[in-house]
Symmetry: C2
Subunit: 182 residues, 2 copies
């Protein structure tokens, strides 16, 4: 049971949808995947090289004009590797919210500072939620055209539902903190 490296799997997953350059992979990470995954160039490019070495991806020259460009594709072995990983149960879902850490130790900081952290969180979430909602709307319209859209929609809906819950929690959390003050 080789424990698959996650970064390999994400890259292969993206390549299973379409051929991509390393740069484009990073862009996908920063847009479609950013709510539940991330990776830097420093991990993407070495991983791509490694994937090619292992025969799970192939590369070809995609230079246009004078622009340097390498396009990666998934191979059949790569697709099987991806399917193998997908078939295994999920190993780890992890949430690391520094905001919650600061709230947990809020006794030391006091009510005002803790409220400020909640408000900052609230603002960040409020700003991002419309984009998630927009994404779900686009995906819902295109759902019959492309089968992959259905799966993207699942993750976007997850974002919407949790962000809405976050905002509800913010209201409640502020109320709890303000209760004894006035």
């Amino acid at each position: 049971m080789a424990i698959e490296k996650k970064s390999d799997c994400v890259i292969l997953g993206l390549l299973s949808h379409e051929d991509l350059t390393g740069y484009e992979i990073k862009k996908r990470m920063d847009t479609a995947l950013k709510y539940f995954w991330g990776a830097s160039y420093g991990s993407i490019y070495p991983a791509l090289g490694d994937l090619v070495k292992r025969g799970l991806a192939s590369k070809r020259d995609g230079a246009e004009n004078n622009r340097n460009k390498i396009i990666y594709s998934i191979t059949e072995d790569g697709r099987n590797y991806l399917k193998g990983w997908l078939a295994n149960p999920v190993e780890k879902d992890e949430l690391r919210y520094e905001t919650l850490l600061k709230l947990f130790f809020g006794h030391e900081a006091g009510v005002e500072q803790t409220l400020a952290h909640i408000e900052a969180f609230e603002e960040k979430i409020s700003k991002e939620l419309p984009f998630l909602i927009g994404a779900t709307e686009v995906l819902k319209k295109g759902i019959s055209e492309d089968d992959t859209h259905k799966y993207y929609l699942l993750t976007a809906e997850f974002g919407v539902k949790t962000y809405q819950a976050y905002l509800e929690w913010c209201r409640e959390a502020k109320a709890i903190l303000k209760e004894e003050r006035g």
Copy 2:
């Protein structure tokens, strides 16, 4: 602007509540903090040694009977360090859900396997939610006794609200996947 190492801050935060051994710190991580933070012995013990070296914590012998035991306390410098970190804005809230990754690439795995991932997620969350609800109830009762409880409650409520949203999402996600099947 020294960027504080988070693991130092968590440990100092826990020590700001009470004196603890390394073992007890790990226990707190695995219970009260586990929904939004984590750490292993391999990071806790070295961090404790480091904190003592830097004068942010102190240690004393707490051996009982024949049992080896070292009890750590936060120093005044440590408390100031903690306060400094608490006063700074949150740098990063991060969610890494392998479940969502597998859903995003669900096209490759198919509806049945994807449903199985959702159901596994649903079961895990369903099992944990009662503990979170129990925690909030205990904390609500004790809220007037101990000021720290109010802050713990904030994080527990976050867990309850998000887990409830997760379960709602599971129902919806299953419906989306089942829609076109028949």
